[in-house]
């Protein structure tokens, strides 16, 4: 674990793997250091944001170094099932990249449980990682200016669902009718860090 400075109110903890991020994030949210107002996990880092009237990044850094990452984070979050119509425009390209046919892409995508590692890009956009074989899918060379809400997509080691219409460079393999971010619902974000996701093929 490396603790990197981030100005007068935050610090960035860099870790070697996503599993370490999940473990530290779980430990920090179970027992947040005093004066920490936000904990933001990402692919290899956890950002801690402090309230400068309560504490300072130095004290929080000491608390983080004393924190024992949890080792049992896999498979403990709530399970979210997302029905997906696998008719995405990039499904054939993804199949070609993997050297399989489109049905096999669907079989692999639906055949494993996914865990939301972190959110970003837009409110409620969860970066999901598979429990089984890791994926490695290149982004599109040219991002789309408009990706519809509910698009189910792949990029790098992640799968995700676009919460609302936005630009995007991920490979689109399908779509779901479930609103992954809905302000009328409590909580608004369905795919929160730690949640488990199962994609279910439908027509």
């Amino acid at each position: 674990m490396r603790v990197l400075p981030s100005g007068s109110t935050a610090l960035l903890v860099e870790l070697d793997s996503l599993d370490e991020v999940l473990g530290l994030y779980a430990a920090l949210t179970d027992d947040p250091p005093e004066g920490v107002v936000d904990v933001v996990p990402a692919a290899r880092t956890v950002l801690l944001v402090t309230d400068p009237s309560v504490t300072d990044p130095g004290a929080v850094a000491d608390a983080v170094r004393r924190t024992r990452p949890r080792g049992d984070v896999g498979g403990r979050g709530e399970l979210v099932e997302l029905p997906v119509v696998y008719d995405g425009e990039d499904l054939a390209d993804v199949a070609t990249h993997l050297g399989v046919d489109p049905d096999e892409v669907v079989r692999r995508h639906t055949g494993t449980e996914w865990t939301v590692a972190f959110c970003g890009f837009a409110p409620g956009f969860g970066y999901c990682v598979p429990d089984g074989q890791p994926w490695a899918i290149p982004r599109r060379e040219t991002p789309r200016t408009r990706v519809p809400p509910g698009a189910v997509a792949l990029a790098g080691e992640f799968s995700g669902v676009y919460p609302r219409e936005s630009p995007g460079g991920w490979q689109l393999i399908g779509r779901t009718d479930v609103a992954v971010f809905d302000l009328a619902r409590e909580p608004a974000a369905l795919l929160r860090p730690g949640a488990r996701v199962r994609f279910v093929g439908t027509t």
Binding site: G7, A42, P123, G124
Partner: protein, 282 residues
């Protein structure tokens, strides 16, 4: 009589702001809130409001409001021509108008009203986050903004002697960022050794700065990582972006340094064309 304000003119951009949405970064929801937090907080203090009460953030003047009941209002931040209430609350009788002209210096003026702007909160805040598309819509002519009941005690002062935003070069302090090792050894010296110009591509998300590009020594891809207001992120162009209130929760370009948190408020008052300097030290 309903306690409300009717919008007669908005100027270039007026939004509702408060102290934002802390604690939701893990859901991809940024903090947002007033760009000049100190000025917004002053407005609420002078009105006896809760620190979390919502105010209006007016960009480069031009806002006109009509009071639909007698209301106590104040303006803070950039001092607009024509404001009778700058840093000193005044009573607007029912039917009276508040019209803000251009500020001669500074960019953002805060209009506070006793009781606070009482539009519906979104995820716990009335702040409009223009990047995430969260919160109340940008103000439009004809909007009727509900106003809450003022319940707190009024402060013992009726005028705050605070300095107006600067119209010339501004210098702010910088502190280390997480990715200084992605840049040449003298990058911080290069950052602090020259004046930067605020470009007209700047907004509530951040200030895009023009100047001598900073040299990166690593070219690989950085996995997106969390950051907050004040981050000086350097994209491949070498020209830094200083993130403000509507900063994204995570970013994929290296952050060289951070502006000291209290100084970021002054950066939120900089206009396109204005000059900004950085100096090291907490």
């Amino acid at each position: 009589m309903t306690r409300s304000l009717t919008v007669l003119a908005t100027g270039p951009l007026t939004t509702v702001q408060d102290t934002g949405r802390p604690g939701q970064g893990a859901l991809g929801v940024g903090r947002s809130g007033a760009c000049d937090r100190a000025a917004a907080a002053l407005a609420n203090r002078l009105l006896g409001n809760d620190p979390g009460a919502a105010v209006l953030e007016v960009t480069l003047g031009g806002l006109a409001l009509r009071a639909d009941a007698e209301l106590l209002v104040v303006t803070t931040g950039a001092r607009c021509a024509g404001s009778p209430a700058h840093n000193a609350p005044v009573r607007l009788p029912a039917g009276a108008e508040l019209r803000l002209g251009l500020p001669p210096a500074g960019l953002r003026t805060y209009v506070g009203v006793r009781g606070g702007i009482a539009v519906e909160p979104v995820l716990g805040s009335r702040a409009t986050d223009l990047l995430a598309g969260l919160g109340p819509p940008v103000l439009s002519v004809g909007d009727v903004l509900p106003v809450g009941e003022g319940t707190g005690a009024m402060p013992g002062v009726d005028l705050a002697p605070v300095a107006d935003p600067a119209d010339g070069e501004v210098t702010v302090r910088v502190l280390p960022g997480p990715r200084a090792d992605w840049f040449a050894e003298d990058a911080v010296a290069a950052l602090t050794g020259t004046a930067w110009t605020v470009t007209d591509e700047s907004n509530r998300i951040g200030l895009r700065l023009a100047g001598e590009p900073l040299a990166r020594i690593r070219t690989g891809e950085l996995a997106s990582e969390g950051m907050v207001r004040g981050a000086l992120q350097v994209p491949p162009s070498g020209l830094p972006v200083l993130f403000l209130a509507d900063a994204p929760v995570t970013g994929g370009y290296p952050v060289l340094a951070y502006v000291a948190d209290p100084d970021v408020d002054r950066c939120g008052q900089l206009r396109p064309g204005q000059s900004l300097r950085f100096r090291t030290g907490g």
